[in-house]
């Protein structure tokens, strides 16, 4: 069996959905509560460790004139700080640590999930994207949502509810208020589905195209030459995915900033 045939045999059983399977690494918990350490936990832990290692290394020996690592960290800081200041007008800068953590965590989860898996490692160590699971993104979105509600009531009291009552003609008010409440309640859903569906769709396309390459290489004769087409396609999709990994983290963080703006600044519409 040639090397290519071997590859094909390995992927013939692992479809494009195989990459999203949750595999237990370290069983833990009681009969009714499952707290096991899975590959999703492992990859979330890896992104936290990578982010911490980078920030510690970059700011360890901070100098007035920054080196390469330090300027990268400072640029990241400035980028998030400007985004938050533009959206909340300085009032929301208390939430900078939260937004910064959110952005870096989502970005690294997305980006590290694009690494290729080393062939032959056990399934539990395959490269995994935690953000391709809706429960992860929904939990992150709910944190933002609850933060907005709690901060809003804490800072503005019941005045926070004025957000649902814009200045419109009186006969429109009942309808508009219902729509405002519904649109407020759908925020965590739209935040989480946007991130999860982007990651899921992107990784599915990558694996489908990769499957075409392997399948065509396993064919005989001239068909092998056609394999170059999906291969080039995959290179393009991969570059797009790197952009999407950044863009979705950015959109998630920016929408969180905009939602926080409702909580820290009184609505004036």
């Amino acid at each position: 069996m040639s090397a290519v045939d071997h590859l094909f045999a390995a992927t013939a059983f692992a479809g494009p959905m195989e990459q999203f399977e949750i595999v237990s690494i370290f069983p833990f918990g009681t009969e009714n509560i499952n707290l096991e350490f899975t590959n999703a936990s492992l990859w979330m832990l890896i992104s936290v460790l990578v982010a911490s290692a980078f920030m510690f290394a970059a700011t360890n020996k901070a100098q007035l004139v920054p080196g390469r690592m330090q300027s990268a960290a400072e640029m990241l800081y400035q980028f998030i700080a400007n985004m938050l200041r533009d959206a909340t007008g300085g009032e929301g800068m208390k939430f900078f640590p939260y937004i910064f953590t959110l952005f870096v965590f989502i970005f690294l989860c997305n980006l590290l999930g694009l690494l290729p898996t080393i062939p032959g490692v056990p399934h539990a160590l395959h490269v995994f994207t935690p953000t391709s699971h809706i429960i992860v993104t929904f939990a992150l979105a709910m944190v933002t949502f609850l933060l907005v509600i709690i901060t809003g009531f804490y800072k503005q009291g019941f005045g926070f509810l004025k957000m649902f009552v814009p200045t419109v003609p009186l006969w429109l008010l009942p309808l508009i208020t219902v729509i405002e409440v519904l649109s407020f309640l759908s925020r965590p859903i739209s935040l989480s589905i946007r991130l999860f569906a982007n990651m899921l769709a992107g990784h599915l396309i990558l694996k489908l195209f990769a499957g075409f390459v392997v399948g065509l290489l396993a064919a005989d004769g001239l068909f092998k030459a056609i394999a170059i087409i999906p291969l080039l396609g995959n290179v393009g999709v991969f570059m797009l995915e790197i952009l999407v990994a950044f863009l979705q983290a950015y959109v998630f963080a920016m929408l969180s900033c905009i939602y926080l703006n409702d909580a820290v600044n009184e609505a004036h519409h």
Binding site: S190, I193, R194, A197, L200, Y250, V251
Partner: protein, 75 residues
Amino acid sequence: MDAEAAKMIGAGIAAIPLAGAGVGIGIIFGNFLSGAFRNPSAAAANQQTLLIGFALTEFTGLLGFVIAMILLYVV
């Protein structure tokens, strides 16, 4: 009709929103570009709004994708 076949057809129909999302994203970026060429100095300040619009528009297409996935793998 067989339930499995109906699922497949439903998943195919659920891909139609992608057309709408494509048109919407095209309109957003096209209008941004035509505005940006008329007043290039104001373009950088509006990039954030552009990306929010893009994210909100893209969501409708992604909902179709999610419905297709639910039909194929969950129901």
